[in-house]
């Protein structure tokens, strides 16, 4: 698990920021980041860490902001067929599931 990201998450919470934690919970094929990888996001869209090689983070961040507002966790799926998620140059055939939940 990315402990440095969890340290960042703890620091952000201590600063009074509202945050969500995104975690890669499943990978199929050649996924760029292993299961257990984290991305921490605050309500303003600031983030640290990664759940992919940079390709799906934008989508995860906007979903995370929703999760911070609603308080309801979400499961996100990204695959090779998702045009918005995977761009040229990425390892093809990969698919990931990302769990996004607020920390309160």
């Amino acid at each position: 698990m990315d402990a440095d990201i969890l340290k960042t998450a703890e620091n952000w919470v201590a600063e009074g920021r509202r945050i969500a934690l995104a975690t890669v919970v499943d990978t199929w094929g050649s996924a760029p980041r292993p299961t257990g990888s984290h991305l921490v996001i605050d309500a303003d869209g600031n983030f640290e860490g990664s759940v992919s090689g940079g390709c799906v983070e934008g989508e995860v961040i906007s979903e995370a902001i929703d999760v911070i507002e609603s308080g309801v966790p979400k499961m996100l799926e990204f695959g090779v067929a998702d045009e918005t998620a995977w761009r040229v140059g990425l390892s093809c055939g990969g698919k990931i599931r990302v769990f996004v939940d607020q920390v309160n």
């Binding site: 698990m1 969890l6 703890e10 299961t35 257990g36």
Partner: protein, 229 residues
């Protein structure tokens, strides 16, 4: 997930303590599992044990409920007694494996920055710098000086600790003499048998680099397979 869990995970990590963060993938609820307080009747006990060994995070089902087990293990650490040629060969291999490495040797002609650039190197006697809390259950101790004055204290400290591997360089004859010394100090036969000697997997290693491979292979085997090895 509650923010208090974050602080607990980070504290565990700072203390080199293994921990699993369990998340309910529906509600997001979280809890922590530690190896030393894991109850046998915990529905995730078996899965947690397996994952503490493998270090792999992943999903588990209990009935219809889906959980994610996020595993955090301390980086494996190798403490090498002896700044010798084999140790020099070990440095890049250990680094490539992502393990921490410390080298201790009181002989200042051996323990030099020139021979071991950017390595955690201490030109001190083990009795002055090696403490039992340095040798935790994610630590391997490797004694390669050949010199009982340097190796023995470290081996005795390791035998009294919970480290996952102890290896000592030396021929069978050298090791018999070592066993005699340890026995006379009151160490039991079973305990002394924890020392892998002659050190390393039996691959016919001929050069310092090959011996380093044999040692590292044996350490990885002990780390990943433990008692199953």
């Amino acid at each position: 997930m509650e923010k208090a869990l974050l602080a607990k995970i980070n504290t565990a990590r700072a203390n080199r303590r293994a921990v699993i963060l369990v998340r309910d993938l529906k509600s997001g609820a979280g809890r922590l599992i530690f190896p030393d307080t894991l109850a046998d009747d915990d529905p995730l006990a078996q899965a947690a044990k397996t994952r503490f060994r493998s270090g792999k995070s992943g999903r588990e089902m209990i009935g219809e409920q889906e959980f994610f087990l996020n595993v955090d293990l301390p980086a494996p650490r190798i403490v090498v007694i002896g700044a010798v040629h084999i140790s020099q060969a070990l440095v890049p291999m250990v680094r490539e494996c992502g393990f921490d490495l410390s080298i201790i040797d009181p002989r200042t002609a051996f323990a030099t920055k020139e021979r071991f650039p950017s390595v955690n190197l201490q030109a001190e006697w083990p009795q002055d710098v090696l403490t039992s809390d340095m040798i935790d259950s994610y630590t391997a101790l490797v004694a390669v000086t050949h010199d009982p004055k340097i190796d023995d204290f470290a081996l005795e400290t390791a035998l009294q600790s919970g480290c996952f591997y102890i290896g000592a360089l030396g021929s069978r004859k050298t090791h018999r003499a070592r066993v005699d010394r340890l026995t006379s100090k009151g160490f039991s036969e079973d305990l002394i048998a924890r020392i892998d000697a002659p050190i390393g997997l039996d691959i016919g290693a001929a050069s310092p680099a090959e011996i380093a491979v044999a040692i590292l292979g044996q350490i990885i085997c002990a780390l990943r397979k433990g008692d199953d090895a």
